[in-house]
């Protein structure tokens, strides 16, 4: 009440305080988030090499993009990566979370262990796994040979390379999303499980008929986060394959980075980023619709 009828001075004080508290974050967001977003859309209509200068070219970049085979390849590879990656990450994270929640006294220990890969930079992850899965000298092929199986060309065969990157991605991220699922599972009311116990339900049934439905919104959220994450995955591809062999692991994030910062075609790369943004936005909207429909 008091606030509403506060004196003019009071109101002035209040609004200057709001500005004081919000200004630092707003300024940073404006310069490095809002402005870049607008600027990207502007740049997409220019041909811009920072060493030479810029020319307005209208829709030329988008026209080139539609005819750019490498772009379509990278888009196809990215979709392939996501389709393999996201279900596996969600399943692995759910599995780990179920273990952590039901294992009892040692649950904190296991949670801590499963989370360890999350600490590792993707750079280090890439180095470690390009050694483990090395075609000629890697330990995994060594073990396969040991039990009489042939070597697999993990990162050197166009057919297998993307699959291998998926293995690495799941290893690196499962523990991250596990933590969210653990929090979600602990939030489910005990009563459901008590009733299920009385009915004589087993562990699998409880997971299938209580845990999964209760976690549904969180599963959608994790799926969306890992879709967005996979869309921009760059580090692993940079460290392990550089898009190869051939163009088998050329993904959009990597192609865009290369176009902007190796070929210095900033306008063209901006056009790519705008298209990527629209795709991610579409996913987000669809996810929101699906979540609300439930």
């Amino acid at each position: 009440m008091k606030k509403k009828f506060g004196s003019k001075r009071q109101r002035l004080y209040n609004s200057s305080c709001v500005i004081l508290f919000l200004l630092p974050s707003f300024l940073l967001l404006a310069v490095f988030v809002f402005w870049p977003m607008i600027y990207s859309m502007v740049l997409a209509f220019f041909e811009w090499n920072p060493l030479k200068g810029k020319d307005f070219t209208g829709f030329e970049n988008f026209r080139t993009l539609v005819q750019d085979d490498l772009w379509w390849t990278s888009l196809k590879n990215t979709v392939y990566y996501i389709i393999l990656n996201v279900p596996l990450i969600v399943a692995a994270a759910l599995g780990l979370a179920e273990i952590v929640v039901s294992v009892g006294r040692t649950s904190k220990l296991f949670r801590g262990i499963y989370f360890v890969p999350t600490m590792l930079s993707l750079v280090a992850t890439g180095i470690v796994w390009s050694y483990l899965l090395n075609t000629n000298t890697g330990v995994i092929n060594g073990l396969l040979n040991r039990i009489g199986l042939p070597s697999v060309k993990w990162f050197t065969s166009g057919k297998v390379a993307m699959l291998s990157i998926v293995i690495v991605t799941v290893w690196r991220w499962a523990g991250y999303y596990m933590v969210m699922f653990v929090a979600g599972m602990l939030g489910i009311s005990e009563q459901y499980y008590e009733v299920a116990d009385l009915e004589g339900a087993g562990r699998f049934q409880k997971f299938r008929y209580i845990t999964l439905p209760q976690l549904k919104p969180m599963i959608y959220f994790v799926a969306l986060m890992s879709i967005i994450g996979s869309f921009q995955e760059f580090d692993l591809f940079y460290m392990i394959t550089l898009g190869g062999p051939g163009t088998a692991t050329y993904v959009t994030g990597f192609y865009m980075w290369q176009t902007a910062f190796s070929s210095m075609k900033m306008g063209y790369a901006s056009a790519m980023s705008v298209v990527l943004f629209i795709i991610v936005l579409t996913f987000t909207v669809i996810q929101n619709k699906v979540t609300q429909a439930d």
Partner: protein, 280 residues
């Protein structure tokens, strides 16, 4: 009945241990490789324990990269990034939980929505801005955008925590004549230390591990962070690749600070990720 339950427990523990091994064995193998002498690297069948421990690999690896400088740069970037992210986000969270102003909820949604923008979209313009501000190859250019990009998540996290601090506390301070600045400093901040440590740990580690922005903004070796340094040591973009045992030793040295931090702040880091999954 009882034995059945126990056998189920054993099965579960067995699965748990198996999963733990899948996570940990790569690390053990890295350590074992880092300790192997050159002539044991390609033994068949592969052996986990080195026949002879080659500790000098670590000494050799130390010369592969300019570790002291890269570590120094990493700290010079990550510590201010984490610190100022916490400051900026706490201030914003205070405004979003303790002040009434027009468009408050709309503003908060605007902050949050930027979480969904893929980073590739802001990469090129941010590079141009940093270049125009003459901040390429400078700590400021490495730090400021990273703070900005952490604001949505950081503000969300601290706001959640501030909402849990009873408003009666600031009411009583207000009666004593305290203004916003004093309430923020003497009531909210001291009560939100766990949330701030959580955020700081999270930002520290993501910033320590950042590659793509460093590739964009840093070209002079004297400003390389350890992660960037590691990425220039090996991989398909590098022409001369050192022997694997030295690479593994260098990788281990580079991740040591983060792992020590993890041992001490595990609880906070796990909490920060858990909270990012909680929507409203």
């Amino acid at each position: 009945m009882r034995t059945q339950k126990r056998s189920k427990g054993i099965l579960l523990t067995a699965v748990a241990v198996l999963a733990a091994l899948l996570v940990l064995v790569p690390f053990l193998w890295v350590l074992s490789t880092a300790l192997k002498p050159d002539n044991e690297l390609f033994l068949f069948p592969p052996r986990l324990l080195p026949g002879e421990f080659a500790w000098n690999n670590f000494a050799d690896a130390w010369h592969l990269l300019d570790f002291p400088r890269y570590f120094f740069n990493s700290f010079m970037v990550t510590v201010p990034t984490a610190f100022f992210t916490v400051v900026v986000c706490s201030l914003a969270a205070y405004a979003f939980t303790r002040m009434n102003f027009k468009l408050r909820n709309a503003m908060f949604l605007l902050y949050l929505s930027t979480m969904m923008i893929p980073q590739v979209v802001r990469l090129i313009p941010s590079f141009i801005i940093v270049k125009n501000l003459h901040m390429l190859n400078s700590y400021a250019g490495m730090i400021l955008p990273q703070i900005a990009w952490s604001i949505p998540f950081g503000t969300f996290l601290i706001r959640q925590f501030f909402l849990g601090i009873p408003k009666e506390l600031d009411e009583s301070a207000r009666i004593d004549g305290a203004g916003h600045v004093r309430i923020f400093r003497s009531i909210l901040v001291p009560n939100a230390v766990p949330a701030m440590v959580t955020l700081a740990t999270y930002i520290f580690i993501t910033s320590w591990n950042n590659l793509i922005w460093m590739l964009v903004v840093v070209s002079k070796q004297e400003k390389f962070t350890i992660t960037l340094g590691l990425a220039t040591m090996t991989g398909p973009s590098v022409d001369f690749i050192p022997p694997w045992n030295e690479i593994m030793a260098a990788t281990l040295i580079s991740i040591l600070p983060v792992f020590i931090l993890y041992l001490f702040f595990q609880k906070y880091f796990i909490q920060s990720v858990a909270m990012s999954g909680i929507k409203e």
